[in-house]
């Protein structure tokens, strides 16, 4: 193709589209060129001067991030000259860095540390006093800023200017007094602030939410999908490998869905996963029972009713697999199709969108649920603030599949109070809401972090969830419960 150019990096040849930079070519080839200020989701600043490479025919070293690749270009990233340049570039970054790694939350995932190990000079010649700058500044509800750790790569400033277009941050003063900050202690207020902590290559911006909670080397990450809204950002979920506690979510690059970012609402999606916010045992008529007893009760209840006397209430927060399992299992045991309702939050503005990622539809799998219902040719009525359709259905058994992310359902209590009025209503969910104790039967279920399955986002992109070890081993996912119910029914036969 004519708009492709071929260059060689360390004698390996690579073709990239015309107009690409050396950095992009190197990334494509898998050659690591050290960098701080370059970020694939932001414009080029070219200020860290770390990504020096040797281009044959050019007298000086060039920065890989802003040098356009040209046909036949020969780039070298490993020669002694280039390595020396990397070493010294890092040395200049470090001479005024406070090196307070022991108390810095970034330690362990800090690019300064990583590059120091990789290309560091080790023997610093800096013997003079370091430049001191303000530390631990409160710059908003979500972030703490340490201007001394900052290496002034300007990623955060560019993020504010280019992605959120809020421009709250600037670099003030000049020379070695240059300091990043907000104006006169103003706060960073937008729904994407945690991205600043992510893109900060050092510990200048750290998340308040995660501040001092855990050292990052105790965390292990799982690639999964954010359940916060119908965008379904690809995320990494971080769990402490010893204590099984969830600490945070970070965006995972996915060009199709979220690019490099995710919203602050999505960042809270770890809060409902930990044991203290979860139910551990089923509740039958207000008393704790075993999981077997609970399933037996459901099984018994399904035997004595006809299909049209069973109502199923879905929220769009379960996996596609779970919806299929429920419908298939009930069709088999009831020998008919139950009445299906979809419960939507009454305050929800389904079509709204903030222009970046966050959508008004706060359910991760609306599209997946719709597809399953269509596939199973089941018609569903919507319950949105008005529950009369359900009340008038005359169901003798109602299965409610409640939302996992309750923050997306501000009028949850009101809806629950309508459900508990029904005859034999069963609630699948983890709600700690007092009203839910009045359900005939309440069964805890796994969260998105513990189950495998598929979420289909608003745009039809299907993404798999990754199952982590469950917090309460006896608690299962809805599809697993219905598989068990099937077995119970068979053994009874």
């Amino acid at each position: 193709m004519s708009n492709q150019i071929t260059l060689s990096i360390n004698n390996q040849s690579i073709s990239v589209p015309a107009g690409s930079t050396i950095m992009e070519a190197a990334q494509k080839l898998g050659v690591s060129v050290p960098h701080f200020c370059w970020h694939p989701g932001l414009s080029i600043a070219g200020v860290c001067r770390f990504c020096m490479v040797k281009v044959e025919g050019m007298p000086k070293l060039q920065i890989a991030c802003n040098t356009p690749a040209t046909e036949g270009m020969k780039v070298d990233t490993v020669s002694a000259e280039v390595k020396d340049a990397h070493k010294w570039a890092l040395e200049f970054h470090l001479i005024n860095h406070p090196l307070d790694c022991p108390i810095c939350d970034q330690a362990g995932e800090c690019e300064l540390q990583n590059y120091y190990m990789k290309v560091g000079k080790y023997q610093s010649q800096m013997e003079d006093e370091k430049v001191l700058k303000p530390k631990a500044l409160d710059v908003g509800d979500t972030l703490v800023l340490d201007t001394e750790r900052c290496i002034l790569c300007s990623r955060c400033v560019r993020f504010e200017d280019e992605v959120t277009k809020t421009s709250t941050l600037g670099i003030f003063n000049r020379g070695d007094q240059a300091t990043i900050g907000t104006y006169q202690g103003r706060k960073i207020k937008h729904n994407y602030s945690y991205n600043l902590a992510d893109i900060c290559p050092v510990g200048a911006f750290t998340a308040k939410d995660f501040r001092f909670k855990c050292r990052v080397w105790f965390l292990k990450e799982a690639k999964t999908v954010c359940p916060g809204c119908s965008t379904g950002c690809s995320v990494n979920l971080f769990q402490n490998s010893n204590q099984r506690e969830y600490y945070r979510l970070k965006p995972r690059h996915n060009a199709e869905v979220n690019g490099h970012w995710m919203c602050d609402t999505g960042r809270t999606m770890y809060e409902h996963l930990n044991a203290s916010t979860r139910l551990s045992a089923p509740l039958l008529n207000g008393e704790n029972v075993t999981f077997h007893a609970a399933l037996q009760a459901v099984s018994d209840a399904t035997k004595s009713v006809s299909a049209d006397k069973v109502a199923v209430v879905f929220t769009a927060q379960f996996t596609s697999e779970e919806y299929s399992a429920v419908l298939n299992s009930l069709k088999t045991t009831l020998k008919g199709t139950p009445k299906v309702f979809v419960w939507r939050e009454e305050t929800e503005t389904e079509e709204s969108f903030d222009g970046i990622l966050f959508r008004g539809d706060r359910n991760p799998n609306t599209r997946g649920m719709t597809e399953v219902l269509k596939q199973e040719s089941v018609g569903a009525s919507i319950l949105k603030g008005d529950f009369s359709a359900l009340a008038n259905a005359g169901a003798e058994l109602t299965l409610v599949f409640g939302p996992e992310v309750e923050s997306a359902y501000p009028s949850l209590a009101k809806a629950l109070s309508r459900f508990v009025e029904l005859k034999k209503s069963v609630y699948f969910g983890n709600t700690l809401n007092e009203v839910a104790k009045k359900f005939w039967l309440r069964i805890p279920v796994k969260t998105f972090a513990e189950k495998s399955g598929t979420f289909v986002n608003f745009n039809g992109v299907a993404q798999k969830l990754k199952a982590n070890p469950p917090v309460y081993p006896a608690v299962k996912a809805v599809d697993e419960y219905f598989a068990d119910l099937g077995k119970l029914a068979q053994s009874a036969v």
């Binding site: 421009s167 941050l169 600037g170 003030f172 104006y183 006169q184």
Partner: protein, 178 residues
């Protein structure tokens, strides 16, 4: 609400906002204009630029903090700024600066302070006639220590400049407010 700026200054600011291709370009001239009238640029002035003229405080503060000619704290009425760069230094700028500073400090001590402050600044661009100094906007060449003392004495005997008077009045008014 009354504008932070005087009507004349507001007119100037509006003039600058329309004078260049972008509104942002007018930040430097506007800050000069504010400084010419108020003698320095206060936080209130920066915030007023945002509130009244829609200039981002971050943009303004970046500029304000980057350039050395803008005064971010209330100054004395006269600033003796002596160039300390290589050419002036070779011709004895250090001596001029220390003499002037000593003179100001001595005046302070004796109970008859002079409305002066003395700074060492980087190159003022008339290196052949070193040492070069500015008193506010007036340039003086070959400022020997004796000449510096004479400058301080001469200016101290004059009536204060309008900007200095406004600055003092503003500060007094601010001090009155709770």
């Amino acid at each position: 609400m009354a504008s932070f700026f005087s009507p004349a200054l507001n007119e100037k600011i509006k003039g600058f906002l329309g004078r260049y291709e972008t509104r942002r370009s007018s930040i430097l001239p506007i800050l000069h204009a504010i400084q010419d009238e108020n003698d320095w640029i206060s936080k209130e002035a920066v915030q007023a630029l945002e509130a009244e003229h829609g200039l981002s405080v971050v943009d303004v503060n970046e500029v304000l903090s980057f350039y050395t000619m803008y005064r971010k704290t209330p100054p004395k009425a006269y600033r003796l700024e002596v160039c300390g760069s290589i050419s002036c230094w070779l011709n004895g700028a250090d001596k001029t600066i220390s003499t002037a500073k000593d003179y100001i400090a001595a005046a302070e001590k004796s109970g008859k302070p002079v409305p002066f402050e003395c700074h060492k600044v980087e190159c003022l661009g008339v290196c052949g006639y070193a040492p070069v100094a500015l008193v506010n906007k007036d340039r003086y060449l070959n400022v020997t220590p004796d000449a510096a003392v004479k400058l301080i004495e001469d200016y101290s005997n004059k009536d204060l400049p309008a900007a200095a008077k406004k600055c003092a009045a503003d500060l007094a008014a601010a001090a009155q407010k709770p």
